[in-house]
């Protein structure tokens, strides 16, 4: 009896097979990779969304950064094209508005201070074997997992 309970309460990882999408996720990642490579090939730029966002918000050199708006236009068009092919995109929010506001503030502030997010550090930085990006990605994945763990623990 106690053995059985022990097995259950061990920190074993339970995989959610019903929502697991290895193929579309891998292919989606491959397309994001092609996007990052293309941007480097034509513009010599890192495809990091938080970096591009702060480029137009903070540095304010609009004429020099017009291409960022064009990239963002494409970023908005991409999901529209995808939904033409496959139907509506599934998006379920996980929190209420006050928590969304807090989350947004933290993400904006944190990516500005940390010079990058999942795309800039995660895709582009790791692919350049950047030590800073490796440290950043390890840190934010760990801190994200810890946050979700705490939220689960608090039962909200």
């Amino acid at each position: 009896m106690s053995l059985c309970n022990e097995n259950k309460s061990e920190n074993m990882i339970v995989i959610d097979w019903s929502n697991f999408t290895p193929f579309t996720s891998l292919l989606g990642g491959v397309l994001i990779g092609f996007s990052a490579v293309l941007l480097m090939l034509i513009n010599g730029r890192i495809a990091g969304v938080s970096g591009l966002l702060s480029k137009i918000l903070v540095y304010k050199n609009i004429s020099k950064n017009l291409w960022v708006f064009i990239f963002f236009t494409g970023l908005l068009l991409g999901p529209i094209f995808y939904s033409f092919l496959t139907g509506p995109i599934k998006s379920n929010s996980v929190v209420d508005i006050p928590w969304l506001i807090l989350a947004g503030l933290l993400v904006g502030f944190g990516t500005f201070i940390g010079n990058g997010c999942t795309s800039g550090h995660g895709i582009c930085g790791l692919s350049r074997f950047s030590i800073r990006s490796l440290a950043a990605v390890t840190t934010f994945v760990f801190s994200g997992m810890l946050t979700v763990y705490i939220i689960r623990f608090m039962g909200s």
Partner: protein, 142 residues
């Protein structure tokens, strides 16, 4: 031509995000939820993206310069600092709470996903507050 290819790059990015499942905050949350029912899909997004980008960058960096620009604009700093780590911790907390990071939160705006509007506006405020409190690292592009 430069405009067209920049647009294509953005479309690929948004299309890839949509296909990967990253536009769904509950899926992102499930990836970070290793103590619950873990959905490892997003590790495949990273794996696919990084594999293509390692090979692609390796080929691109063999060129002297980009096609429509005079130089590659890459971050030059190598050393770790407390600011990088602190920022990443804070970003991770926000990512865990909302299940959204900057790319998806913008891409999903075109899908009339109301929570993303709230999130994105807050994110912009966060960036501006950060830039007021801390000087931008001008050497860092990403």
């Amino acid at each position: 031509m430069k405009i067209l290819f920049t647009l294509i790059s953005g479309v690929l990015f948004g299309f890839g995000l949509a296909m990967s499942g990253m536009l769904n905050p509950s899926k992102v949350r499930a990836f970070l939820d290793i103590s619950g029912e873990w959905d490892p899909s997003l590790a495949f997004v990273m794996a696919g993206g990084i594999f293509v980008t390692i090979v692609g960058y390796w080929l691109v960096f063999k060129k002297e310069k980009p096609i429509f620009s005079n130089q590659f604009s890459l971050p030059e700093r190598k050393e770790l600092d407390i600011r990088l780590i602190t920022g990443s911790v804070i970003f991770g907390v926000g990512w865990g709470i909302g299940g959204l990071c900057p790319g998806p939160s913008i891409a999903i705006l075109s899908n009339h996903f109301f929570p993303a509007i709230i999130f994105t506006v807050s994110m912009i405020v966060g960036i501006i507050v950060g830039s007021i409190l801390f000087k931008p690292n001008k050497l860092n592009v990403n």
